[in-house]
Symmetry: C2
DNA sequence: TAAAACCCTCACGCAAGCGTCATGGTCAAG
DNA sequence: CTTGACCATGACGCTTGCGTGAGGGTTTTA
């Protein structure tokens, strides 16, 4: 029923060590079997992919830990009484993402322009 | 006429140490005065901002060094005879940026959805 | 002309995100 | 019942992107 760490690593495309690290950082919270083995869930596959994407995008784990609870879909399980302070933090994260997206988009467009020009020249 | 490292640091919003590091990594190539001081150009302000954005977006300096020459605008100063291999590398960088952008966009949208829901609930 | 304020080059230090043993329990297969 | 494939917990190592002196010239300011 439960997914073991090796299986999750293979399916999600990360190392076993990385998964243990993510647990240390509080990004995933597997339960434990009687023998001490970590028990992951099916949904952790997507969670880990999400984590990978965010880490590759440059977000530190402590921020990922903060925003991960809000990324389960459109407000499915929202924390009770979201206090102002937390909302501000989430909004700040959103703004940071916005800036990163704009920066990356500009650079992607520039690379595309370069590639286009190179192709036209070789034609 | 030339910009000194301290001025550039203030204007571009980075540390002097960071600028020296960028030079070590080949991201900027200031000339030198007779006294050994680094001579930056006005345009380096924007270059450094560009670099900062890419680093914050998670790109390692060696990749930034690779793509930076192609980000000066739409193919203004294109390297002579861009070999296939290099074009492939640039395209790969572009694809990596694309993936990052999609990941960040998904997460930004999720955060927005969360924030919207929170606001509606408090209303 | 002397203190401030910059600049230079080493060079060590540090946090993040794992890689990589070392050492040892667990469990299905032969 | 032993071999091999997994699992666990330390714990040290490495890379990246700088921070932070140490030690010593230069240039502007008082």
């Amino acid at each position: 029923m439960s997914v073991r760490i090796g299986d999750l690593a293979r399916v999600a495309g990360v190392s076993v060590r990385a998964l243990r690290y993510y647990e240390e950082e509080g990004l995933v919270r597997p339960s434990r079997a009687e023998n001490g083995y970590r028990c992951f869930e099916e949904r952790d596959v997507e969670v880990v992919r999400q984590i990978r994407g965010l880490i590759e995008a440059g977000l530190p784990t402590r921020i990922i830990r903060d925003v991960l609870p809000y990324l389960d879909g459109p407000g499915e399980l929202m924390p009770e009484v979201p206090c102002e302070h937390m909302l501000d933090e989430v909004a700040a994260h959103r703004d940071a993402l916005e800036r990163r997206i704009r920066c990356l988009t500009r650079n992607r467009d520039a690379l595309n322009a370069y590639l286009d020009a190179a192709v036209r020249r070789s034609a």
